[in-house]
C-alpha cells in the first residue's frame, strides 16, 4: 500500500510555491461539469476524465475544473459550462470525449467559442 511520504508532500509544496498565479478563484478559466443523476447516467464522469486528461497532458495550471449539480436539462446531458475571465458563461450540451477535447483546445485554450456544440440561447428551459 503506497503511502504519501513527507518527500511527496515537500515536492508538491515546492511545486505549488513556484506557481504563484494559482490561488483559488484566480484561474484564467473555469470549466464546470454538471454531475446530476442524469448527467452521470449520460457519461458526465467520462467527460470530466477527458477534461482532466487535457489539463494533465498540456500541463495547465490556471484552469479551474469543477463539478456542480443538475442543470435541469436532462435530455441534453452530458453538459459543461465554460467561463473565461470577463466573458459570459457558455453551456455546451450532448457532449462526447471528442467534443470535450475540441472545446478545450478552441475555447478554453484559445478563447474561441465552439458554436456548433453550444446550447442555443433561449433553449435553457428545464425538462
Amino acid at each position: 500500500m503506497p503511502k504519501i511520504t513527507p518527500k511527496d508532500l515537500a515536492r508538491i509544496r515546492e511545486k505549488s510555491r513556484q506557481s504563484t498565479t494559482l490561488r483559488e478563484g484566480a484561474g484564467r478559466a473555469k470549466v464546470t461539469v454538471h454531475m446530476g443523476t442524469c448527467g452521470i447516467a449520460a457519461g458526465a464522469r467520462d467527460i470530466m476524465s477527458a477534461l482532466m486528461k487535457e489539463v494533465e497532458s498540456r500541463d495547465v495550471k490556471d484552469v479551474l475544473v469543477t463539478t456542480s449539480g443538475c442543470a435541469g436539462l436532462c435530455s441534453r446531458e452530458p453538459m459543461i459550462t465554460v467561463e473565461l475571465l470577463d466573458q459570459p458563461p457558455i453551456k455546451y450540451v450532448d457532449l462526447t470525449k471528442e467534443k470535450m477535447q475540441k472545446i478545450f483546445e478552441d475555447h478554453v485554450m484559445n478563447g474561441n467559442i465552439v458554436n456548433e456544440y453550444a446550447l442555443a440561447v433561449g433553449s435553457e428551459r428545464a425538462h
Binding site: M1, E24, T66
Partner: protein, 182 residues
Amino acid sequence: MEDLSLHILDIAQNSIAAEASRIEITIREDIRKDLLSIEITDNGAGLDSDTVSRVTDPFYTTRKTRDVGLGLALFNEAVESSNGNLTIKSQKGKGTKVKATFQFSNIDRRPMGNIGETLLVLIIGNPKISFSFLYQKNSKKFSFDTELIKNSINGHLQSSSENIRFIAGTLNDGLKNLGVSA
C-alpha cells in the same frame, strides 16, 4: 447506471448538495461472507425520519429543477436486484449515512467499475470538501484521505496538472496493489 462506482459518485453528489464538508466512502469486499458493502457518510444537512422513509421513492425529491428524484431510487434498485439491502440513517443538522450491502457472487450484482475515477472526480471537482476513502478487500486495505495532502495544495488550484497527476497516481497505485481493476 451500470457500475456501482457511478452510483457512488451520484450518492456523494447528494452529500455535496447537502453542503457536507466531509464525506467518507468505505467499500468492503468479504469473500468468506460473500458480501460487498458500500457506505457513504457525510456531515451535511441531513433529513428527518419522515423524509428518510420516502427517499427511495422515485417521485420524491426536494430539488426544484425537476419533479422526480432518481438517485436513491436507482441505487435501491441495483441493491435489491442482487439480494442486498439499503439503509439510510440521517439526523437533521448532523449528517447522513447511506449503506448498501450486496451478495458478492450474485449474478445480477453490478460490477464496481472504475472507482478510482469516481474518487478523482469527487476530489478534483470539490476542492473545499475533505474526502476519506477506505477500500478493504478481505484482509488487505487501501486508504486515502485528502486531509493528508491539504496543506500541500491549499490556496492553489486543486485542478492544476500536478495535483491531478499526483492524486490520480496515488489512487491508481493503491487500487492496483489491492487487485481492484479499473
